[in-house]
């Protein structure tokens, strides 16, 4: 029974959203009135968009430039003789694929642990009444006020005692902990929005708590889960300071640390550095574009209302 109700509800939301999409052209007058979109607004939006991506496009251009272009005294915007040799040097040089793999393991591990643990906690906050609920919730949120790099010294000492320095597991645990407060905060708002009677019909069918969470709440909160997954992935993928502090053995290094190797004491290998940078940027951009479709809804519904 409940599965049918649930499917109906899902179709309902789908139908509503497609109706909304169809009803878009005669949109209500916006913040700028009826004759709102002038050419100047479009031009300014272009400027913002271009400035935002320009350094990244420049990085891509640099990654294809031969050393002769990069080390000339004048700036070169477009490579004169495009070459892929920088990529060959970057990828084959001292275990780059290994660092890439380490980063991927750490990022995916962090996403899985954060999403699972934050969902469980957010479910408790959204669906149960228990003593000190709001106090506990705000204690979790309080961590948002403590800058993450700020705790690096005691965290380092703690990891020494737990024998978790120099291990990818140690990184995953710290990264997940850092990401919990925001994730729980965002997911709680979404989980609360799932209608109570849907849950009750699930429960009447004898569904366990975990089943309610995985089969009902989670699918209906896909946008929020996607946003949490994206933020967490990016956090873990690009994190530099904690990894730099905890890791000693070169075989455990992650990508952001590997990038610093291209900076020599006397000479910097800019070409390979930017090729490596492009390789390091591609996964986060892919993850971002995948989660894009849920992104706006995830931010506006879950975040601050």
């Amino acid at each position: 029974m409940s599965t049918f109700i649930f499917k109906d509800a899902r179709n309902e939301t789908k139908r509503q959203s497609s109706a909304r999409r169809r009803a878009k052209p005669p949109a209500p007058p916006g913040l700028f009135g009826i004759r709102s979109w002038k050419k100047s607004r479009l031009v300014l939006a272009c400027v913002f968009g271009l400035l935002s991506v320009f350094p990244l496009l420049y990085m891509i251009s640099l990654s294809f430039q031969p050393t002769s272009d990069i080390l000339t005294s004048s700036a070169v915007l477009v490579p004169t003789h495009p070459t892929t040799s920088n990529y060959v040097v970057a990828w084959s040089g001292n275990g780059f694929s290994n660092y890439f793999l380490n980063s991927l393991i750490v990022a995916l591990g962090t996403v899985v642990i954060t999403v699972v643990i934050a969902s469980l906690a957010a479910f408790a906050f959204a669906r149960y009444r228990f003593p000190f609920k709001e106090v506990i919730f705000y204690l979790f949120l309080a961590a948002l006020a403590v800058p993450s790099v700020d705790l690096i010294i005691p965290q380092y000492l703690l990891m020494l005692r737990l024998h978790l320095t120099d291990s990818l597991l140690g990184l995953v645990l710290i990264y997940s902990s850092e990401n919990l407060p925001f994730s729980i905060f965002l997911l709680r708002g979404f989980f609360e929005a799932v209608p109570k009677d849907l849950e009750e019909s699930f429960r009447l069918d004898g569904a366990s708590t975990l089943r309610v969470l995985t089969r009902l709440i989670a699918p209906l909160s896909a946008p929020a889960l996607a946003v949490v997954a994206m933020f967490t992935f990016n956090f873990a993928w690009e994190e530099f300071t904690i990894a730099l502090t905890l890791l000693n053995d070169q075989s455990h290094f992650t990508l952001p640390i590997a990038l610093t190797f291209f900076i020599g004491a006397h000479q910097t290998e800019w070409g390979p550095l930017f090729a490596a940078s492009v390789i390091a940027t591609v996964p986060s951009v892919i993850v971002y574009f995948i989660s894009q479709r849920w992104f706006q809804r995830g931010v506006s519904l879950g975040g601050i209302r």
Partner: protein
């Protein structure tokens, strides 16, 4: 369907309402939320809460990491040292300047971009995606890109400057205190706009359009509409974004570490590069913990004061 079949087999809710099962059900109802919270609480207490207290503890000792070494108690000694250190004074000034310069500019440009894109602009999705992209890039990567843009040889900044000056120039931006600071500010603003942009965009979408329209019908100018309808409506977001940007800006670290490395002669260093150096280069963990603790307390206190002020302002 299989779900139908399994649900027919186990139906605790339909079982006869005996006292035992109801008691059991209530107990479960009481225990379940705590069980659900357990993993999160475990990680959070071990890796966040405990380190906060540990940090305060360490800051009162002359702490060494070497096993067997004595860690003499020095009381407020580390804190006293902070106030007599010229490097800390420079670092505090640079951190302060970084906050006062980057936070307002990120707020203003983020809000401006959000207002541009908010509705009735062709290609809204495209602009949204483009403006947010810097946020998802890595700090290390973009720090190197900006280091090259502002390099003395072959950098783009010097290339553009050369066009205006008329001859080739070789300014070493990162080797001078103020140009080095400026590069760090520009980089951080560039990377930060997208975040405040997306927050403001979500907030502007939530401004009731009929309210905007009715005040416009009443003859209010665009400026008045913004001042009296839009801004009051997005006020919670403004507070939220300001506080989070402030906390983020206070922990400026990677961009300084990667571009200037705090140089020349520690003149572009910030509080966290200083603390990091004290801990992991000079092994003065107690002193570094004192810097970090003091920072956390100041940042937290200022955030609370600011939130209080904003609340009072919106009530009146």
């Amino acid at each position: 369907m299989t779900t139908e079949a399994t649900s027919l087999v186990r139906r605790p809710a339909d079982s006869p309402p005996g006292a035992v099962s109801r008691h059991h059900y209530r107990a479960m109802r009481f225990v379940t939320p705590y069980l659900l919270l357990l993993p999160a609480a475990f990680l959070y207490i071990l890796f966040i809460v405990y380190p906060i207290f540990k940090q305060f503890d360490i800051s009162f000792y002359n702490w060494h990491v070497f096993p067997g070494a004595a860690n003499p108690f020095v009381g407020w000694g580390n804190y006293k040292e902070i106030f007599h250190s010229p490097e800390i004074r420079t670092a505090a000034l640079n951190t302060f300047l970084f906050i006062v310069i980057t936070v307002p500019i990120q707020m203003a440009l983020g809000l401006f971009a959000a207002a541009l894109v908010t509705d009735r602009l062709p290609g809204r999705g495209l602009w949204r995606a483009l403006i947010f992209i810097p946020v998802v890039t890595s700090w290390v990567v973009v720090s190197y890109v900006f280091a090259y843009i502002f390099a003395d040889q072959g950098g783009l900044a010097n290339g553009i400057l050369s066009i205006f000056v008329g001859h080739t120039v070789h300014v070493d931006w990162l080797a001078n205190t103020w140009t080095g600071n400026a590069v760090i500010w520009i980089l951080s603003i560039w990377k930060g706009i997208g975040w405040s942009f997306i927050m403001f965009l979500a907030a502007l979408d939530g401004v009731p359009r009929d309210l905007v329209e009715s005040s416009r019908v009443d003859g209010a100018s665009e400026r008045r509409v913004w001042r009296h309808v839009v801004i009051p409506n997005i006020r919670p977001t403004i507070t939220f974004v300001t506080v989070l940007l402030f906390i983020g800006a206070s922990q400026v670290f990677i961009q300084v570490y990667v571009t200037t490395g705090g140089g020349p002669f520690d003149s572009t260093g910030v509080l966290l590069t200083n603390a990091y150096q004290q801990a992991f280069s000079f092994f003065s963990f107690g002193y570094a913990a004192a810097i970090a603790s003091l920072m956390a307390v100041v940042v937290l206190a200022m955030s609370i004061v600011y939130i209080r002020l904003m609340r009072r302002g919106s009530n009146s």
